[in-house]
Symmetry: C2
Subunit: 362 residues, 2 copies
């Protein structure tokens, strides 16, 4: 095949024009080995005249390194993952790496496909928020890891998977939020959202514990456990009707909140662990004519600037989301650099930002 685009000069053409061998031109342009000042000049001049740019693809072909990190996240349009990706991308760029992103939409099959695609493109490593819960097979991710592609989990962890991970300390965050509400005097605290699973018939605390520990996205399970721990420490019995299960969308939250607020012992406070949960609770509170914080307290997990211009501003557990991504990339890059530490699992702490949506129960 001839060069499809004659305006893209190759190393050989630069060498010919400079009147030197290809290896010398390569040494100058690749910035390694040693060359005489004279040839260096000639090569650089020739390269500039031709407008030469290294073909990274060809370089990767021979070095076996692409300087590219593959990233698999649920949905880049979700502000949480957008911030994670921004963090990854910044840390990667700082170290000279590019990033190839694929959305999984929380679908394990799309995730598998994405991972195979990335491995096919010879990425040097993969950062992924595994879909399908802690017990998901995640076959492609495990396969990639076994073949020697560096893998770092972000925001979630897979049980029995030996790859590094960076997650929020979700258990602690939820416990802190619940403790704060309990300290304000609340005893009926609702959690939105919890496990995505649907019970047949009534959901019991046993179901919840089992779901939290096994088949859910680990961050969701951890939050449930933190919430439950705070209640237990305060001697408050856990009411499964106050824990959202099922479809994790704004609509799902609204259904849950509507039912909970209509019931007998209605909750006097909500913990909303996702942006969409905050939105859903606010929408239903408004629909029910409840005024925050007098009629209902709320703590959200979200760092949106909208939270502070809401009336009242929403008390928030601020999570270092971008840092989560940065840290995952740093660990991956350290591995690519030959770091041989044992498996790393880092937990990042949140910070509570009191803004006014928490008050004693009416």
């Amino acid at each position: 095949m001839t060069n499809p685009d004659p305006s893209r000069p190759t190393l050989s053409e630069v060498a010919r024009r400079a009147g030197v061998g290809r290896s010398s031109a390569a040494r100058v342009l690749g910035n390694y080995g040693s060359v005489s000042e004279h040839t260096r000049r000639r090569v650089l001049v020739a390269a500039a005249e031709l407008g030469y740019e290294t073909n990274e693809l060809a370089r990767s072909m021979s070095t076996g390194v692409t300087m590219t990190i593959g990233v698999v996240l649920a949905d880049i349009a979700n502000p949480f993952f957008a911030a994670v990706f921004r963090g990854i991308s910044d840390a990667a760029r700082a170290a000279g790496y590019g990033t190839l992103l694929v959305n999984s939409d929380e679908d394990p099959e799309l995730e598998d496909e994405a991972v195979r695609l990335l491995v096919g493109k010879q990425v040097d490593g993969i950062i992924a928020a595994p879909a399908g819960g802690a017990h998901a097979p995640a076959a492609a991710l495990r396969w990639a890891h076994e073949r020697g592609t560096a893998v770092v989990q972000v925001d979630r962890t897979l049980n029995g998977f030996d790859a590094d991970a960076v997650v929020m300390d979700n258990r602690d965050a939820a416990r802190t939020a619940a403790e704060r509400l309990i300290a304000a005097g609340h005893r009926r605290v609702a959690l939105a959202w919890g496990p995505a699973r649907q019970g047949r018939g009534a959901v019991t605390a046993d179901h919840l514990r089992e779901w939290a520990g096994s088949s859910e996205i680990s961050s969701v399970g951890e939050r449930y456990l933190g919430y439950a721990a705070a209640l237990e420490a305060a001697g408050i019995p856990l009411d499964p009707a106050l824990v959202m299960t099922g479809e994790q969308t704004i609509e799902g939250v609204r259904r849950f909140a509507r039912r909970a607020l209509a019931g007998e012992g209605r909750p006097t406070a909500f913990i909303a662990t996702e942006v969409d949960a905050v939105i859903g609770v606010l929408a239903e509170a408004r629909a029910a004519g409840l005024v925050l914080p007098a009629d209902l307290s709320l703590i959200g997990f979200d760092d949106s600037p909208w939270a502070s211009v809401h009336d009242p501003p929403i008390t928030t557990l601020r999570q270092p989301v971008q840092r989560l991504g940065e840290h995952a990339a740093e660990i991956l890059i350290a591995r690519l650099g030959g770091d041989r530490r044992p498996r790393v699992v880092d937990h990042l702490a949140s910070e509570t930002v009191d803004q006014g949506s928490v008050a004693p129960p009416g």
Copy 2:
């Protein structure tokens, strides 16, 4: 060099194991040409046994096609660009393309660097939201386009640049917003934000017109022109003090809104053309003790679910942001497929969602 990872079998190994030539194995695995059913079987079996996956890098090396689209956006953590990228990524994936994303942070130098990086990685085409305004040199983007890399501009256009483009109809959107406020009885309508340039001394309408037409990000300029056109059509003189200039951040908006609201002929309505503008205006309105919509009307450009749980819900110009990205990718992919139409510049229309933050002036 030997294969750095012996667990990654190559085409040759598959061929050897199947007892056929490399070309035959290539034909089977690459799914082209014709092979006997017998060899096909043998090759597929051998590939499965070895766990063979095509090395896309090597394939790209010989075909000259990477099936990858490079994307340069200001900031993936900004919900607008996150949605654009989601659209690009979906359309790309549907056509078998991957996407390589780089943030420019609105910095022309970072943009140049990003474009060179992408060209170096041999992307088949580039989608970019050019930084630095309509008259920016954007040397790398023009260079890439001239060398034959397909380029599509998204959200912004560069003057005198012959590449396809997809943008919002920003002029029409701003005109519509202004008309709506004027129809409600407002005559003092403020625009946040406008051109980023700072005047020395007083900013005049002439300055604004010049800045809008020349050196700004074209979407910002277009919005100013639509706003000005609506005022003119209604016979309302344009007051430069009601058009924000300078730093385009939440803080910048707050400074502008504070000054405007404190002045003599204070605005009775705001048009906020970015999420951060909406947030900034809301924050200052609250600080000034103004209640929406009785004391102040507001129309925002933003599709955040937060807008509808705000009190009052914010009347919004909903823009098909994800569609913007999809469409850009579709055009690019059509070009890669050999489409030879003349240059395409598509304008996408917005839709007004009336929610309650507009009322007649108090």
